[in-house]
């Protein structure tokens, strides 16, 4: 009797150990706990700045100084947002930014698709040379070419706060990070069986018809990725945008982007609320909560887009072959 219970106890212990530590077929509970704890911790650390920004942006000034209200505001206020909206001239800037990001993106997608297709589909002399130039223009910092290009644009009288420099570069395949777009299309079209396109050509379709009728519809996945990424890149770029818009342009005279507005947030705030003139103790002084509200507002459109389309973003990256093997 005694021996039997001992045996079952041993068996039970064995089963428990197997459950915890896992066997060759199944991962143990302990290992699972380690994996999830690790993932959740890292995810929290990763999101920490955003969560902080979000909670700060709703705080009143008294909460900012109060150490006990580190995360949860004692009263939720929207005044920071209304101040930030006034500072950045938000709705106006947003409309300008959407225009400035969307139109060049469309040009960029179309041109890069064409170039990627041309490089993948056809053989021609000097092809290796052009591929080398393509890679090189991605690897080297744009700062070297920025100055001559700026001079060129200003000689052509394009730098007047309009969209024209953006359109010109996009149409000539030199938009922001267009090399990556071209490479994505190149990889994609290389994977499409040539026989499909050739069959169409035998059927009498010309080169253009093969491209528009077959290659473009087949590359829909790549088009989606490139469009989304181009849009994000156009939205986020500041260095070249500052250059293309002309350094002196102000919001009232020309186009602007929310990132530029965020960059000059402090100056705009001071001029909007006349805070510099008033004393240090003034209630109008720029505080962290307003800054965080401004930062939130400038990334909000992209965040909203991301939450709706994140599957598209993440899944299609490996389908479109950004990995470039």
């Amino acid at each position: 009797m005694k021996a039997k219970t001992a045996e079952t106890r041993e068996a039970r212990r064995d089963r428990f150990r197997k459950l915890m530590l896992g066997s060759t077929e199944k991962r143990g509970v302990l290992m699972s706990i380690v994996v999830y704890v690790l993932l959740i911790t890292i995810a929290f650390i990763y999101m920490y700045p955003i969560l902080y920004m979000l909670s700060r942006s709703f705080m009143e000034k008294s909460d900012l100084l109060d150490a006990s209200a580190k995360w949860i505001p004692s009263t939720v206020t929207l005044k920071n947002y209304s101040d930030a909206i006034a500072t950045m001239d938000y709705w106006n800037s947003l409309a300008k930014n959407l225009y400035l990001a969307a139109v060049p993106t469309l040009c960029q997608v179309f041109i890069c698709s064409m170039v990627g297709y041309g490089l993948a589909r056809y053989n021609f002399p000097l092809k290796k040379f052009w591929m080398g130039v393509l890679i090189l223009s991605f690897l080297l910092p744009t700062q070297t070419t920025a100055l001559p290009n700026y001079l060129l644009f200003s000689r052509l009288k394009l730098v007047d706060g309009s969209i024209r420099p953006f359109l010109l570069t996009a149409i000539l395949g030199q938009g922001f990070k267009s090399v990556l777009c071209i490479l994505i299309f190149f990889n994609f079209h290389r994977q499409i069986p040539q026989s499909l396109v050739e069959a169409a050509e035998i059927d009498g379709a010309g080169h253009l018809k093969a491209y528009f009728g077959i290659a473009i519809p087949l590359s829909a996945a790549a088009i989606v990725v490139v469009t989304l990424f181009s849009f994000v890149w156009y939205w986020n770029e500041t260095y070249l945008v500052r250059m293309y818009l002309g350094y002196g342009t102000t919001r009232s005279t020309g186009l602007t982007t929310l990132m530029l507005e965020l960059q000059r947030f402090e100056d705009s705030y001071n001029s909007t609320f006349d805070a510099r003139a008033s004393s240090v103790t003034s209630t109008n002084k720029l505080n962290d909560a307003i800054r965080m509200a401004g930062t939130m507002l400038s990334i909000a459109p992209l965040m909203i887009m991301y939450f709706f389309l994140q599957k598209r973003f993440v899944e299609s990256v490996d389908r479109a072959g950004i990995t470039g093997e």
Partner: protein, 333 residues
């Protein structure tokens, strides 16, 4: 890709037509890259050897010594060598962190977990929002460092180090989260690579008695090796041209400052370009796979490697078996 053939096919009408269509498709880009990249590079090099004046069009004034601009970058601009050194040290510190971090995250995401798409969404989010102005706002708030790490303790430990090492490490820890934010694309690239490893390979290894650790070193790592190179190049390029880079800000401010001038900025950006090129070359040489000359050689090498591993495993199994027998023998006695 073009195959290397010794014979030259005749210039048929069809071939000429193909060439024409090929160039027609890439024409916009060829024009663009020639003007905005190739010509601009040459022009910027030319500027850096002259004194550029912008009174009524571009005027190039010859210098007493053509290398004056380059020399004065190092002599006059004391910030430049320092910033450059900080950038290089920062890069050496950040690159392994980003690569290791993204590989770990990719491995975690690739294992059997629930809510995978949720975690993937979180780890990819910074790709969308991590930009210069946003990052500098967040750094100014002091939220860029990991909240749990007590920075003061760490800094007192490190304060014995010389300044030029201490400074980059301090920077590293005060911006750790934002550095990790640079790994979104890298995680996806690793993930795509990991998903291509056939699961049968792991099963076979397991049957042969390999532990998880061993299969990581022998199967996983060799498969993602090309991706490590790709990710390193990508990371270097993004860090070198990214919005928070101090050298770029310096070049920008120097170029458009009234006292220093365009040619000076051009010289500076050329020095920077060369240095980034050298860094990329070093990374490439260090991380590339030594490509075997022939396909046969690769197969042969792989077989030898596999045979060695197998022999090691068999030896280990035999040892374990002997130990077990000995133990059982002792128990029987």
């Amino acid at each position: 890709m073009a195959k290397k053939t010794t014979y030259r096919p005749k210039l048929t009408k069809r071939r000429l037509k193909e060439w024409g269509w090929g160039y027609l498709f890439i024409l916009p880009w060829v024009v663009g890259v020639s003007i905005f990249f190739l010509y601009a590079m040459v022009q910027s090099l030319q500027f850096s050897f002259y004194n550029l004046l912008l009174s009524g069009g571009i005027q190039l004034q010859p210098l007493a010594n053509p290398f004056d601009n380059f020399a004065s970058v190092f002599v006059k601009e004391i910030n430049f060598p320092v910033t450059l050194a900080n950038f290089a040290i920062g890069l050496v510190l950040q690159l392994p962190i980003i690569i290791a971090f993204s590989l770990i995250i990719a491995l975690l995401l690739n294992s059997k977990i629930r809510a995978r798409s949720f975690f993937r969404m979180i780890f990819f989010l910074p790709v969308i929002i991590a930009t210069g102005p946003v990052m500098s706002q967040l750094t100014a708030q002091g939220v860029a460092s990991v909240p749990m790490v007590s920075q003061n303790t760490l800094l007192t430990v490190l304060s014995g180090l010389p300044e030029f090492i201490y400074e980059p490490i301090n920077n590293l820890f005060s911006q750790l989260i934002l550095i990790l934010w640079n790994s979104g694309i890298q995680i996806l690239i690793f993930l795509a690579g990991l998903q291509k490893v056939p699961s049968t390979l792991y099963e076979a290894a397991k049957i042969d008695g390999a532990s998880g650790w061993e299969s990581f070193w022998k199967i996983t790592l060799p498969t993602v090796r090309p991706m490590i190179l790709l990710n390193s190049i990508y990371t270097i390029v993004t860090l070198a041209t990214g919005g928070t880079n101090e050298i770029i800000e310096l070049i920008y401010s120097v170029t458009y400052a009234a006292t220093k001038g365009y040619s000076y900025g051009a010289a500076m950006s050329w020095i920077y370009t060369l240095i980034v090129g050298v860094i990329l070359l070093i990374a490439f040489l260090l991380l590339r796979e030594k490509e075997p000359k022939h396909q046969d050689e690769a197969v042969y090498r792989r077989d030898v490697e596999a045979a060695k591993t197998l022999a090691k495993l068999q030896a280990k199994n035999a040892r374990h078996r002997r130990q077990r027998q000995r133990r059982e023998g002792r128990a029987a006695k």
